[in-house]
Amino acid sequence: MAKKLVFLLTLLVVAGGSLSGMAKAVDFSGETVTWIIPYRVGGGSDVWSRVYSPYLSKYLPGEPTVVVKNMPGAASITGVNYFHRKAKPDGLTAVGSSGSTILHYLLGKKEVAYEFKDYNIVFGSPVDGITYIDPKFGVKSVADVKGLTEELVYASQGATSDDLVALLAYEMLGMKVKAVFGYKGRGAGRVAYEQGEASIDLQSVPAYVKNVLPLVEQGKAVPLFSYGVFDEQGNIVRDPIAPELPSFPEAYEMVHGKKPSGPAWEAWKAFFTAAFGIQKCMWLPKGTPEDVVAAFRKAAQDTLADPEFEKSLQTTLGGARQMVGVSAEKAFNAVLNVPETDKQWLINWLKDRYEVVID
């Protein structure tokens, strides 16, 4: 903690003093920055990194080549473990994390060797999701789920995937949802919904806009809530892309008449952060000099200001507000600071509810 404080203070000094002056000392001319992506080519994280990498290359001091290196395996554990063991703190190796990277970290899987407390976050990208339901249950908005007695079916990838957040959300709203496991991704889940195999579903916002909005217009789906996005202060608020839908904390309040609290909520926040709130992050290894970290953060900041990038952000990454440096750090704290007892609560819940034993 003390280390963190010192770091934050230094960062403040840097920010208040001469950020550009500090960054000038860092020079990557003629170097190659390797960005390890622990997922396969063509996956969501791969696309994300490939949208960012040419701009990082352009705005990092000395315009180094930024190369994306895919290192998939064991639900991203292989690649991040490799980063943990091999990356030197010289700014030439970075890693990208995504939902499952952090989920396994939070659940304390024994294969996980990496430790996010040690790394330096450069920036993070949120991906929001929207839950919708079959209109045959007569539910018009999330407030109506209170009286819902029928059992719903959710086509899920697995209890320890990003779906964990959705399953816990349904439970917290008091909905009876039967999870059917084994579907290969949310796309398969959506087809299952359209086939009638599932009656409640979750899609990321870009996929929702393309594939589910037409269903909503045809009266074949009713949106319930979005999971939400972080504001500058680190609160979970409505998604500006879908402002008509309540965020999950609001939905909870609409159903229960009070703000969410307790271990389920604390655990939900941590896993929400991992799977949605700041789903994909870029990290530099432990002990990277502060000026190097600052240079990376500045490059990310400049990227966001680039009008060309803005276009790709809208078309490819769903247009959510990206978080750089301190604001990313703040958001990620929900993952790092989740109390051990609340984490344990969730692990027990998984065991009781889905017979999942974490080892």
């Binding site: 063509g42 996956g43 490939r50 395996g73 064991a74 959506r190 087809v191 490819t316």
Partner: protein, 497 residues
């Protein structure tokens, strides 16, 4: 619709499109020729290139590449008995014996002609099916997909020939190998023995090359001769084309099998060649020579595997759900280009859909033409003493396996699978059965698990399930009768001698 179709036809013939399409075709041909490398590798290599390209040009490149891999991957399958990619495993069954007999050129040219026709059928179907694709895809729920997987598995009985029990046991072995790694429907890992490598299971390329390539190389080295037992390899290429044309109905049927399997998301294309092969073995009435070099055993899988790509593009473009591994990477490519796949593709990006159609058709023509030209010189390889070729082949298959996860585990797994394959070959256990079991293991389990969780026992009475169930029973009866008939014929001829 017609206007858009002709519009994109004009576009595809602009200079830049043709150049990129041919680039894609050349890339696809080279990747297909190298044993073990298939569409996923090709897509992964080309994906970083397309960043910043115009979408229609990038589509020409990617579709051109993926369309011709099942054409050129026939070379190693026929000439060396080594699968060029997962799509041509069944081609080995009859193509390789033909090469040994000195008919490599005939087998290859029949294969390329069948590939070309299959590819064109795929392209035509892609363009026709788009308006009605949605209800078709939605008609296949998890129970139906489970039954289709069982149908695939039932081919094992047909392929095992005289010893159905061995086929069944080999398929079970394949299922066990397929069960290694993360369980498809529960948060569990199986048989990983605490290694990170085994958590993702044994990659397809390792199992395929281990079971087929490794034993073949060893045996050829032991024999110490060239692959072709005759010194001439025959001109035969006109004959091969004629063979394919003579069996045009077979080509058409197998093309439709290919399109349907490619079209159904979640089945994966890796068994399409085996299903087509099983089909031709089943329906042939006259005295077949399957397994010993029957040209129909080459034509069937080759027409199906090219048609598969046309089918596979439909769910990828219209639903954003990939039908195969290479389509999953293609999907990422679409996102990089800023295109969200979905039903709106038909309204917003109809030009791209039709660019894919034309690219598919054109690539198949160019690819088949190039392969026919190359067939004769490349077939000469079968005349070379194998000891000279073996080191290169070992190097190539080792590299191909290593690219699967790029860890030591790949090489160790290749060795283990190779020894297993060699033992199976020595003692006459059907390796195709083991491979089919392995490929279908995950689907079989997933869809059964989902069906049972979701529907209890009621899924058994769904009309689709009943229909596919009936097809399975009929195909098994036909297959077993056939085997019995072959057995009888064999006994008769033995008695005569």
């Amino acid at each position: 619709m017609l206007e858009a179709l002709s519009q994109s036809f004009v576009t595809i013939f602009t200079f830049s499109h043709i150049v990129w399409l041919v680039t894609g075709v050349l890339a696809g041909l080279s990747i297909g020729v190298l044993p073990g490398l298939g569409g996923i590798v090709g897509m992964s290599i080309l994906l970083p290139v397309i960043y910043g390209m115009e979408p229609d040009i990038a589509f020409a490149l990617l579709v051109g590449m993926v369309a011709v891999i099942p054409t050129s991957d026939t070379f190693p399958s026929v000439l060396m008995g080594i699968p060029g990619s997962a799509a041509s495993q069944a081609t080995i069954m009859d193509g390789y014996p033909m090469a040994k007999r000195g008919e490599a050129t005939r087998a290859l040219s029949a294969a390329f002609t069948a590939s070309l026709m299959g590819g064109l059928v795929g392209a035509v179907t892609l363009s026709l099916v788009i308006p009605i694709a949605k209800p078709l895809i939605l008609a296949f729920g998890s129970p139906e997909l489970f039954m289709l997987t069982v149908l695939g598995l039932s081919m094992v009985g047909i392929l095992a020939g005289k010893r159905p029990i061995r086929g069944l046991l080999a398929a079970c072995l394949g299922l066990v190998i397929g069960a290694i790694g993360a369980a498809p429907a529960a948060a569990e890992y199986r048989f990983t023995f605490g290694t990170e490598y085994m958590m993702d299971g044994i990659p397809l390329v390792v199992v395929g090359l281990g079971l087929f390539a490794f034993p073949e190389i060893i045996d050829l080295l032991i024999k110490g001769k060239a692959i072709s037992e005759k010194t001439t390899i025959g001109r035969g290429w006109v004959k091969g084309v004629k063979d394919a044309l003579a069996h045009k109905l077979l080509v058409l049927r197998c093309s439709f099998i290919g399109v349907i399997i490619g079209f159904l998301p979640g089945l994966g294309g890796s068994v399409v060649d085996w299903i087509a092969y099983g089909h031709v073995v089943q329906i042939t009435k006259d005295k077949p020579q399957f397994g010993k070099g029957d040209i129909r055993g080459v034509i069937a899988p080759e027409s199906a595997n090219n048609a598969k790509e046309g089918g596979g593009l439909i769910p990828t473009l219209l639903f954003g759900i990939p039908g195969s591994g290479s389509m999953a990477v293609f999907l990422g490519g679409m996102l990089i280009l800023g295109i969200q796949p979905g039903p709106s593709m038909v309204t917003e990006h109809l030009d791209l859909v039709y660019t894919s159609v034309w690219s598919l058709a054109l690539a198949n023509i160019v690819g088949a033409a190039l392969c026919v030209i190359l067939a004769r010189p490349i077939a000469q390889l079968t005349k070379v003493r194998y000891a000279y070729i073996a080191p290169f082949m070992i190097l190539i298959i080792t590299l191909a396996c290593y690219q699967a996860t790029q860890t030591w585990g790949d090489l160790i797994a290749l060795l283990v699978m190779g020894i297993l394959g060699w033992i199976m070959k020595q003692f006459g256990w059907p390796r195709p059965a083991a491979l089919i079991g392995y490929v279908l293991a995950a689907n079989l389990e997933t869809y059964l698990f989902i069906s049972a969780q979701r529907f209890g026992w009621t899924w058994l009475w769904r009309p689709g399930v009943l229909v596919i169930g009936a097809i399975i029973v009929i195909s098994l009866i036909l297959g077993l009768r056939k085997t019995a008939a072959i057995d009888k014929a064999a006994q008769k001829s033995e008695a005569k001698q």
